[in-house]
């Protein structure tokens, strides 16, 4: 029988990283993610690994870049302002096609903002964030179990596509405690890391770089990256649906707010409303096809976010003319988390308009 643990989301992510074979962590303290470096500072030395508290988030992401370049599994974690600082390194890693996992337990912003649950970094994380027009897979867990499972998945995606991968949570997901069943890592066939720098050891020189100056070189490299993103869009979308089969209104939400929306949808069903929930688990690649299908059947979509409207743009692009899209958002801040009753009221209003 698998053991059941009662742990924080942040700890679950750190445990998932260890299970996935990550032995190198580089980070800098920032609330509300500091449980991750604290956990790994205890665990990694005993596993022949290394924990380094870097001088800054910039230092940390570049240590990750260096470690990943040697072919090992390595990770960093931070929170919104820290992720802003890491974006330079993430862009370089995307350009040099280096794997690595970055956990963002986001804060509310802009600026120093607060530590409340927030989804205001959606654009920054999903649309590249750093310079140069790249994408990285972004996974949005909504439970402690998923913090564990998706962290393991993130390492596999990183190695499979030679790309940085981000896990995007917030203080609700990172700080809450729930039951966790620490499953072993699923076995996925992954390519050998022949590109990694190890010292030549008699072989041909290996170079990890993102500078391409020859005629046509950079364009070719960018088309190559683009082709990878296309494959990810075809193969790596993950989403979850609840009561969407006969729904006439689909609520769309990711991460922490999807849990509140889930309760609100259940309450709406109890009142006889045919309402369903669609939860993107991968924010890049965005589960466009699955959402288009569900939304097309329902004809109407309500997007709920802890911001003033970011993912709703991807929903509109996915759904196109197949459904009418409305939005309900609460920008982050203390007391900004909507209650299930508040969302139920919004559902009633949108559902009523649908019925007319």
């Amino acid at each position: 029988m698998s053991k059941r643990l009662f742990v924080k989301g942040n700890e679950a992510a750190a445990m998932g990283a260890v299970e996935a074979g990550c032995r190198y962590y580089f980070g800098y303290p920032i609330t509300p993610q500091s449980d991750i470096p604290e956990y790994l500072s205890r665990e990694l030395p005993g596993l022949n690994g290394e924990f380094i508290q870097a001088e800054s988030e910039i230092g940390a992401i570049n240590m990750l870049l260096g470690a990943s370049a040697t072919g090992v599994r390595a990770m960093t974690s931070s929170s919104s302002p820290g992720i802003s600082l890491k974006q330079e390194g993430i862009s370089y890693m995307a350009g040099a096609e280096l794997p690595g996992v970055i956990i963002n337990i986001s804060r509310s912003g802009p600026g120093l903002g607060g530590i409340d649950a927030s989804q205001s970094d959606y654009f920054q994380c999903v649309k590249g964030g750093g310079h140069g027009g790249y994408h990285i897979p972004v996974l949005a867990p909504n439970s402690v179990q998923e913090m564990y499972d998706l962290t393991m998945h993130a390492f596999d995606l990183a190695d499979l596509y030679r790309t940085p991968v981000m896990l995007l949570g917030d203080s609700v997901i990172g700080q809450m405690k729930e039951a966790l069943v620490p499953n072993p890592r699923p076995v996925r066939e992954l390519p050998a890391k022949g590109w990694a720098v190890r010292g030549k050891s008699g072989a041909e020189q290996r170079v990890v770089k993102s500078l391409f100056l020859g005629d046509g070189e950079l364009e070719a490299h960018n088309w190559h990256l683009h082709a990878k993103y296309k494959v990810m869009k075809e193969k790596e979308c993950i989403s979850e649906e609840y009561e969407t089969a006969d729904a006439r209104l689909i609520v769309v939400g990711f991460g922490s707010v999807s849990r509140i929306a889930h309760t609100a949808v259940t309450m709406a069903r109890a009142e006889g409303m045919k309402v369903g929930l669609f939860r993107p688990v991968t924010l890049f690649p965005f589960p466009e096809k699955a959402l288009e299908e569900a939304a097309g059947r329902a004809g109407k979509v309500l997007v709920v976010e802890l911001n003033t409207g970011q993912m709703v743009e991807d929903v509109r692009l996915s759904v196109g003319a197949a459904a009418q899209v409305s939005f309900y958002g609460r920008p982050p801040g203390a007391g900004s988390l909507p209650s299930p009753e508040e969302l139920l009221e919004v559902i009633r209003k949108n559902y009523g308009e649908t019925a007319r």
């Binding site: 910039i58 570049n62 870049l65 260096g66 370089y92 040099a96 993102s210 500078l211």
Partner: protein, 245 residues
């Protein structure tokens, strides 16, 4: 016939792209010589920085990782921690190491990372087009200090070799110049010594190399060489500032 002078094995048999009178070629050669001396070519991972030195992989026959501007010491930290058996060096200019990368160099040095840093100081941003660097001398005209570096506004040139020598994690810190055959021979000895510290696992070693940038200084190579002796060395004294036994 006995061959007394040849290309180091760690250096590729190619022409460099550097400007006439630039010292990067000489310094590359000295670094390759030190790698050969300790026989570490096959286990070396070089960390290239931003600027003229980014093309490291075109000249050294070793594995290379490219770092973002100023971040080479952090990248090297990740490399060495993940591959403790490898031989790791960074090769950085003054804008890279003493301005944007100040935090990274100070903290990598202070942690005592077992790496070697080759710091090429030519008192200007070379590839970027000759702007003022943290090491630009007071009064020196550059494209962003057109009236000469003003100490009251721009501060004083930073002496990195002395600064880093103060840190507990540093095992070796020295400054050399490559403006004359005598200085090149001394530089060769010092770079060998610095690499030796890592080869023996003794910790962080640092060599600052005073070098010329004739193009951006607006001088011919001979005048540029002369400037190193006349203006740079008086402010940036040569010597070994720290040498832990």
């Amino acid at each position: 016939m006995q061959q007394v002078f040849k290309r180091p094995q760690s250096l590729k048999d190619v022409q460099t792209h550097f400007c006439p009178g630039c010292h990067h070629g000489t310094i590359h050669r000295l670094v390759a010589d030190a790698m050969d001396l300790y026989g570490v070519q096959e286990q070396t991972i070089g960390v290239a920085s931003v600027g003229c030195s980014v093309f490291l992989y075109g000249y050294f026959d070793i594995d290379v990782v490219e770092a973002p501007h100023g971040r080479a010491p952090a990248v090297a930290t990740g490399v060495k921690r993940a591959k403790p058996g490898s031989f790791v060096f960074t090769y950085q200019g003054d804008g890279d190491l003493a301005a944007i990368g100040t935090a990274e160099i100070i903290h990598a040095a202070n942690r005592g990372e077992d790496i070697t840093v080759v710091f090429v100081n030519n008192t200007t941003y070379g590839m970027t087009g000759g702007q003022m660097a943290p090491t630009t001398l007071v009064g020196q005209k550059t494209s962003t200090s057109p009236y000469g570096r003003d100490k009251s506004k721009d501060g004083s040139p930073i002496r990195m070799a002395e600064l880093l020598a103060q840190l507990g994690g540093v095992a070796y810190s020295a400054r050399v110049a490559v403006d004359s055959p005598k200085h090149v021979l001394e530089a060769k000895k010092v770079i060998r010594e610095a690499f030796g510290y890592q080869a023996q696992g003794k910790g962080f070693s640092f060599v600052e190399v005073l070098s010329a940038c004739p193009t951006n200084w607006g001088m011919n190579p001979l005048k540029a060489n002369a400037r190193i002796g006349e203006e740079m060395i008086p402010y940036f004294p040569l010597g070994v500032f720290k040498k832990e036994e």
